[in-house]
């Protein structure tokens, strides 16, 4: 490290001059220049007195590590905190160089003979980091579910899950670790795994210090406050928006052929060119409408016939303008591959590079067996790579993924098609980032990517020290609305919100540990912290609303209120009756064209309901009616009575167009001004059906015809104005036979007579008064709901769920009534990689006893496979039988949970176990070659490998569980299973190790 000495002078200069002394409780902006500025803040635990020692920078001591470059202010600021021995949260963009802080922390610990733990959310990332640290410091170990290297080293790189279980097991490491580094801590908001971070942070040893590295989060201060509170130590926040290379954001309209700069490198939004870009959108033709429901983006890849696809044009342009290397993000593995295939005609590498690529590729593939080298994924990849085009997604073989990463870093890949996973972790920037799609599927539905995700992914654009600026290109199509784009480009990062939830494994581990209590964990959770924070806010709101409510004074409130409630009752009854009469079952035969119908006018103001007995209604003529097509396919099986219908009615409307070109139609009374138009209405907007039918002209397109028809309607209305329009009688005409109908209608009659008794109804100001009363009622309702929210956040979050889950554990015999673990509970403590209850119930029911090892492995595959596959063939009969057994057990577990008042959807839970890869895994356990099992299933190679690796993890946990039970036969069986699946390409070592 001799060469660094020269720079140390500079570094200490930095410390003295640029950096204001830390640990003053105020915001300080770095003074260098605006682009590099960072915000430094400190959170102190309550009642903490900052010690005198820490305010003085320790000038005398030599920094634990010196860097061969000048540190950015945020880096030296963070390192200052480390030197003072205080925890720090660093929130900055991916490319900003957070690793420097981690490196310094590690160096510091090694110097002080302390241990340091580095956790990251992903195994692959842990491997990469291990390699990075190992090159820098030699005393480094690695622990992931797959590999363990030198667990006694001073610096341990591991996944957060491993760190969590180490804390539960009381590993020696937790007594020796001085600093814990949590990388990518914003993973805490992950729905499934985020809770692991919370557990790990809450349970971390009280005397250790932390380094949190996170993407930019707006509520970093809140997080730091939480850490300070839970660990009773100050926690610094260093926040920066700074990007070493500024970004330019462009829009590429689909079907168009140019880029439009919408946000320049200064962060200014260019409204004019944004509008131009939108205007350049080629409108979709009618035939393309089918592309909705998620398939719409296919236009992107297919392209108009005879023409190059958009993506091809785009990449060509990028290469021509020398914007390469480029990363093209898309949100599905299939799409990724498909896009790469579009590039078939392109060659971006020269011959020298091709030779290099081939050498690197085959030397990496050397660890594979000959059979595995012939895998289609392997052999198809090389030609693509040689042309400078790469694909990177989780469906790839891990080894291929790593080769591609290496090739990309070496600059041999000019154009990489990647999924979102490429945007986290190791520094692998490109000059340009392209978003081929702006919607992603998040498990339930398609949604726009959030500004936070956009920020994370666009962080890959711009190589520090190479590019002057990074380029971000957004490919948009007609579906996109301007506000969405704007909020995506200009929006702030996603807030770090807790995704805390309970699991049985967590509960049992907490119960087993004598010093812990699940309640304490809940109390200390970030979730609770955030809920507590909201209380003062809610209180204020409630107070304001209460004042407002009390300021409303109404005369004769009592009688008015009685009248009001009467009205409400009347309305709801009317609605009931209408719902019965107008249910498709009764009214369908009467929806003939030409029938006059009474419909509700569109309310001018949605908030204020009318307060007379009569709703504002108008009349129209039925033109047609049709069934609403639902999204689901099983819609066709529905009976006609159950389906939804819309009715096309000709009536008087006011049609307005807003600036975007969307039409809003308001139905108005016939006498008002407006144009005659046909509107589709749901059944619920129909008030009643008359017995009168008109003859309607066949062609309604000319507006005069419609006008005339409406005139006819008015005439009819006039004719019947005295005795009222003859309506279809529900019982006589429509044959409504329902006791509820009869009851409701008799009640209505009774109510109607009651109205007359109310003198107040005749008061001239009745409407205004009722409106005021209604407002008051609304306020009361709001106050009540706020108070309820306050009560729930004051009470321990998850308290009821905790109770319910403990009930489940007691019923299934995992814990005793006094919260002490039964022997069964000890077993579940060991299982964390699969659904613990179902798995242990299966074991305790002796399911594993009879079956063969291969079948066992195959059965367990259902626990680790989560992707949903369409139309896979059913597994063979023995396996099917086993799967049925698993489903039975799962259903039983789910039912017990439901009965114990845990909120759970039984069938959803049961179907979360997927039999899709049973056959493949069975074959693998039988000793088949990998290419053979790939022929059995349709899944991605990488996904299958990941599943089998996780399966091995589960088996290891089961071995421990069998040991705890004392059943040696099971233990031997699980061990045999591990031996059978742990071989060849599936467990090929990472290239980073």
């Amino acid at each position: 490290m001799g060469s660094f000495k020269r720079k140390s002078q500079e570094f200490s200069n930095n410390e003295g001059s640029i950096i204001p002394p830390p640990s003053k409780q105020m915001k300080q902006n770095g003074l260098v220049d605006e682009a590099v500025a960072c915000v430094h803040d400190v959170s102190y635990p309550e009642g903490y007195i900052p010690s005198a020692a820490s305010t003085l920078p320790q000038q005398d001591s030599k920094p634990a590590k010196e860097f061969p470059f000048t540190l950015d202010p945020f880096q030296s600021e963070a390192i200052n905190c480390l030197n003072n021995g205080e925890s720090v949260m660093v929130s900055a963009h991916t490319s900003a160089g957070k690793t420097v802080v981690a490196l310094y922390a590690i160096a510091m610990c090694l110097k002080n003979n302390q241990r340091v733990v580095y956790t990251s959310p992903i195994k692959a990332l842990s491997n990469q980091k291990y390699r990075e640290f190992k090159e820098e410091f030699s005393d480094v170990g690695l622990m992931t579910g797959d590999v363990t290297i030198d667990p006694n080293a001073s610096c341990l790189v591991m996944t957060t899950e491993i760190w969590r279980s180490m804390q539960y097991n009381g590993s020696d490491v937790i007594r020796e670790v001085a600093w814990v580094i949590f990388d990518e801590v914003h993973y805490m908001r992950d729905r499934e795994r985020g809770v692991v971070w919370e557990e790990s942070i809450v349970m971390a040893p009280k005397n250790s210090r932390f380094v949190f590295l996170s993407a930019t989060v707006p509520n970093a201060k809140e997080f730091a406050d939480w850490v300070a509170k839970v660990h009773q130590q100050p926690c610094h926040i260093v926040y920066t928006d700074y990007r070493p290379t500024p970004l330019q954001h462009y829009i590429f309209p689909s079907g168009g052929d140019g880029l439009y700069l919408v946000v320049d490198e200064k962060g200014k939004f260019r409204e004019d060119s944004f509008q131009k870009a939108l205007n350049a959108l080629v409108p979709a033709n009618e035939g393309d409408k089918k592309r909705e429901n998620g398939k719409w983006q296919k236009g992107l890849v297919v392209g108009k016939s005879g023409e190059d696809s958009d993506i091809f044009k785009m990449v060509k342009m990028i290469i021509q303008r020398q914007y390469d290397p480029v990363i093209c993000f898309s949100f599905s593995k299939r799409e990724c591959e498909f896009l790469a295939m579009q590039m078939a005609k392109m060659d971006l590498n020269n011959d020298d590079e091709k030779v290099n690529i081939e050498t690197i590729f085959w030397s990496a593939m050397d660890i594979l067996s000959d059979d595995d080298k012939k895998l289609p994924q392997v052999s198809n990849m090389l030609p693509l790579l040689k042309r400078g085009i790469g694909v990177h997604h989780s469906g790839l073989l891990p080894i291929l993924k790593e080769v591609i990463e290496i090739l990309f870093q070496e600059g041999f890949i000019k154009c990489l098609f990647a999924t979102e996973t490429f945007s986290i972790g190791l520094n692998m920037p490109a000059k340009t980032v392209v978003f081929t799609n702006v919607r992603k599927f998040d498990g339930d539905k398609f949604r726009w990517i959030s500004s936070g995700e956009y920020i994370q992914m666009s962080g890959r654009a711009g190589r520090r020290g190479i590019d002057e600026r990074g380029i971000c290109i957004l490919m948009v199509d007609e579906k996109l609305e301007p506000p969405t784009v704007k909020s995506m480009l200009k929006g702030s990062a996603d807030a770090l919100n807790s995704a805390f939830h309970l699991s049985y494994n967590m509960l049992l581990n907490q119960i087993r540990c004598k010093d812990a209590d699940p309640k304490n964990l809940l109390r200390d959770s970030f979730y609770q912290f955030q809920a507590d924070r909201a209380i003062p806010d809610l209180e204020k709101q409630a107070k304001i609303l209460e004042e407002e409510r009390d300021s409303i004074v109404i005369e004769e409130e009592d009688s008015l209120e009685r009248y009001y409630s009467l009205l409400e009752q009347y309305k709801s009854l009317k609605k009931d009756v209408r719902n019965i009469v107008l249910s498709p079952k009764y009214c369908l035969p009467f929806l003939q064209p030409g029938r006059l119908v009474c419909i509700e006018c569109t309310k001018i103001d949605d908030d204020v309901p009318t307060f007379s007995i009569k709703e504002e209604v108008t009349w129209g003529v039925i033109i047609n009616f049709e069934r609403v097509k639902g999204l689901s396919e099983d819609d066709a099986n529905k009976k006609p009575e159950d389906a939804n219908y819309t009715i096309d009615v000709l009536t008087r409307c006011i049609v307005q167009k807003d600036e975007v070109g969307r039409k809003t139609i308001k139905i108005v009374p016939l006498k008002n001004a407006g144009e005659p138009a046909v509107v589709s209405l749901p059944l619920s907007q129909i008030d009643s059906l008359s017995s009168v039918r008109l003859v309607i002209p066949k062609d309604l397109l000319p507006s005069e015809v419609r006008e005339n028809t409406l005139k006819k309607v008015s005439e009819v209305l006039n004719r019947f104005s005295r005795e009222g329009m003859p309506l279809l009688h529900p019982e006589d005409d429509m044959k409504v036979q329902s006791s509820t109908y009869r009851k409701a209608s008799s009640k209505i009659e009774a109510l109607e007579s009651l109205f007359e008794e109310h003198k107040i109804a005749t008061s001239p100001l009745i409407k205004e008064k009722l409106k005021v009363l209604h407002k008051k009622k609304e306020l009361t309702g709001k106050i009540r709901s706020i108070k309820r929210a306050m009560r729930t956040s004051k009470a321990l979050a998850f308290k009821d769920e905790l109770k319910a889950r403990k009930r489940v554990l007691r019923r299934l015999g995992y814990i005793k009534s006094d919260d002490v673990l039964e022997s069964k509970g000890n077993v579940v403590c060991l299982i964390s990689s699969a659904d613990e209850l179902t798995l242990s119930e299966l074991m305790y029911n002796g399911t594993f006893e009879k079956i063969k090892v291969e079948e066992l492995v195959s059965l367990l595959s259902c626990f680790v496979w989560q992707e949903k596959l369409q139309d896979t063939q059913k597994p063979r009969e023995e396996l099917e039988l086993l799967f049925a057994q698993l489903q039975d057990t799962a259903r039983r577990v789910a039912k017990v949970q439901l009965e114990s008042k845990v909120q759970i959807d039984v069938e959803n839970f049961v179907s979360s176990f997927r039999p899709d890869i049973m056959e493949a895994v069975y074959a693998w356990a039988k000793g088949s070659k990998f290419y053979e099992i790939m022929e059995i299933t349709q899944v991605f190679e990488g996904s299958l490998i990941r599943a089998i690796r996780r399966l091995e993890e589960v088996l290891q946990q089961l071995i421990e569980a069998a040991k705890a039970v004392g059943d040696e036969k099971h233990e031997a069986k699980f061990k045999e299973a591990v031996a059978k699946i742990k071989r060849d390409i599936v467990f090929a070592a990472s290239l980073y190790l």
Partner: protein
Amino acid sequence: MRGVQLPFSNTQKLRYERALAQLESLSSKVNTNATVIVADTIPVDEDGALKGHGTLDMGKKVVATVCGVVERVNKLVYVRSLRARYKPEIGDIIVGRVIEVAPKRWRLEINFSQDAVLMLSSMNLPDGIQRRRTAIDELNMRTIFVENDVICAEVRGFQHDGSLHLQARSQKYGKLERGRLLTIPPYLVKRRKQHFHHLDQYGVDLILGCNGFIWIGEHVEVKDVMVEDQVNKSDPQNTHSGSLLGSSEELTSTPPETRQYICRIANAITVFAALDFMVTLEGVIEMVNLSLSLNLGVDEMLKAEFHVLVAEKEAERRSTLTKRR
């Protein structure tokens, strides 16, 4: 069953037997024919039973390898041994005695079939600093525990070599001083959430180790290192005097009343053990209070009369329990 050898008078014997008979009638009959001795065959379902601890699969039949009661959980069959040595479970609180200071570890006697191991790295250092253990720490091990010290710890689990490891997660574990160690059969201590008890009214700490080692000692305030650290930082002078105070406190001996209470509690537990009753905090406190209200001397608690009283009380307590159900 309860082989108590005491010089009972005739009336005492009668009362004692009546109490026992009452207890007998109250105990559940569920497991009465489930008791096995070594090599007894255990009936199991044919399809897929798990054979747990204390059983051996002989191909056609399953036999017991220990004497005890057959327990079944779902399809798991295991034998819970009676009157055997302590069988550790992860998370148990135990009390043990140091028998050897070995490299990087202490060996402890905890009434298990092997010695337990407490690694130097499995406990917090006296200074509370998180760091790797050095050779100097190893040399200083004797300043922490030496042979015959009584220690309280938590069972961490079995290592891969089959040895049993202990750990001390926080400051409340560690050396126990100025008190009395009592050993009773481990099955008389029920696993509960709480094994540390501070009996405020007597100024006594009671630790019911799951291994049947019971510690009764003068109450010590658990020092929280964190708090002390902060005090240290904010006011260095104060701590100095504080540590002085601590050492002077150590010099003062346990007051005689506390010693009496310790003995009273110990005797109450001894009586429970002699009668083969589960030792619970509530029971112990009740018996101590009984002895106090009867103005019994400490030594009188070990005499026949008190045994009979305890047996009667227990019978009474259990019958009210069953009635309430």
